[in-house]
Symmetry: C2
Subunit: 391 residues, 2 copies
Amino acid sequence: VKRSGDTGDRDQSDRGYVSLETAIAWIDAATRCLPTEQVSLCNARGRVLSEDHRAGSALPPCDRAALDGFAVRAQESVGASAYNPLSLPAVTVAAGDALPAGADAVVPFEHAQSDETGRILLVEAVAPGANVDRQGAVAAEGSILVPSGTRLAARHIGTLATAATLKVPVVRQPRVRILLAGSLRSQRHFDSNGPMIRVAAERDGGMIVGLVAVERNQSALAVALAATDADIALVIGGTGRGPDDCAAAALAEAGELAVHGVALRPGETSGLGQTGKRVPVVLLPGAPIACLWSYEMLAGRAIRRLGGRASALPFRPRTMTITRKIISAIGMTEIWPVRYGGAVDTVEPMPSFAEIGLMAAAGGDGFIIIPEPSEGYPQGAVVTVYPYEGR
Amino acid sequence: VKRSGDTGDRDQSDRGYVSLETAIAWIDAATRCLPTEQVSLCNARGRVLSEDHRAGSALPPCDRAALDGFAVRAQESVGASAYNPLSLPAVTVAAGDALPAGADAVVPFEHAQSDETGRILLVEAVAPGANVDRQGAVAAEGSILVPSGTRLAARHIGTLATAATLKVPVVRQPRVRILLAGSLRSQRHFDSNGPMIRVAAERDGGMIVGLVAVERNQSALAVALAATDADIALVIGGTGRGPDDCAAAALAEAGELAVHGVALRPGETSGLGQTGKRVPVVLLPGAPIACLWSYEMLAGRAIRRLGGRASALPFRPRTMTITRKIISAIGMTEIWPVRYGGAVDTVEPMPSFAEIGLMAAAGGDGFIIIPEPSEGYPQGAVVTVYPYEGR
């Protein structure tokens, strides 16, 4: 793990920032997958399977006809030809039927003719196993059909249901407590951040067990934090260095302040720590755009990890070309908004989040993560773009 | 719209199949976006905004300092230089503060020194507007911040909340009624298909208002369909041509059977129509893998359209290379399961859905859609792959 001091960047170390990597390493060490609970299949969509689901029997459970035709014993067809048609006993089967005892191949209807005695005339030998779905060919008994850690979608639910499973073991949803530690000056931000972070946490699998405004003073916030018995607490607002910014001090009072100040833009004043009960806490800045990115890069990861999901951002990256240059500060991981460009696989950098705030997120198609040591990218650079879900 | 007969394909027209395009055109004509309802912001995640959300005032609402410094009148700095330092009246401002009356530029603290009289000494002229966020620069009053049709994510919720909006207008969720018309023979499929299609419909924004087993005879099913007052009904099972397959006849009795048999594999026996009350109905085959793909290619589209979502499949396509050939039947749109290959941007075709059923979906990473006129693809072909969500 890189320490902030290693970058040699004045700006960052002067302010006591840790690198985003250091902050992430702290989160990864502080969060582990929650225990299992049983839920009904119909409520299991999006949940994370916590045990391997194995085939209770072989699939198919027996040798089955792969198509409609005559079930025969292949050995009896040896030597059949146009010059030497052979007459064989045969049983009519439909696709999916179990093969009758003794049969090991299926001849399609169009390749033979039956007579009234239940025999067919063959002019070509049949290989053992021809047109047969072998017992266990799809899955051996006990083989893994849906592995532990799978986020369950319709196709998995269908597979689980095939085994007549009514309840499935999934990772318990992380209980998330959100404390709004607003200031008088930025009162209007509460309304904005509360719903925004609530739905973001729900997207990541969290269950909101409280979204409450706390008086913005250190003792009140420390008491609220110390009392938290959720799986994670998020504090919104009061993370700056101003006289009425008490979130960091309150967390230190309630337990441990591990990180305050992350080389992340937007989101510089983010903090991390835990309460005396070892509940992990993420401090999110009160400015809406900083709150959003602090959530996305830090808190969201913690919630996903608690819930057994993949740690990575829930946006699938794509390689694209930028249509104009981006200038970014060295020593800060910077998140930059982009819009799809006119040409295929191009994106146009938008004015920065610092300039236009949430509008850049609401009006954009995705973002670029500019790493700490980078000064940005020239026009035409090929970069990794994270399109938002649904874009 | 291509009619099935146009393909000249014997297999398809012999069986009375319509092309997938024809089936989709029927769905598109039969479904339109539902009306608006108001929901609270905290419940709006994933819902589709049904009216443009516009800026109630300009953003920023006034000219604001872009950084901490001295607010000045730029005109008074004209002619300032190292040889001709000028003394100007100045007001200290913090980033985000409204500019004081008369000021039109901000000089950063580090570029000037103040004296006790509230004046600063400048050695360089300042341009009007320097370090000022102009009123309306982010958004003019009345401009669209979140357009109608947006599927709301955290960043939109935050933007809407900034305007102190408590309720937002969204498209009503489609009410989906699921009728299980099972046979005695395939009884175990009910358990599998019901939960699977339920969660698939929920993924597409549907609200399940009933998931009920109906006796498998034409009258009982016709009565259940005719009574439906949901926005869409799905019938699972009984779609084949066998003697106890009554779904198509029941739909015809309850209203109109528009399509029975689609050139889609898996999913050949799918059907489409509507009840006397003009409730659209999709008939899904009872075999689980055919049920899933009939849902994905037909019913899911109908539900998404009713709910105001994009019609297209909710899987983002990627261009990838296949590591071995695929042989597909001409005249059928075939869905083929794939797994990610060893090399970057490659996929390995799996045994077909016909061979291994739902296991191919649960164990795969995505699928390829092989169009009707295609015989498949050679090894190394570059194809469009639809990775499953989360893969």
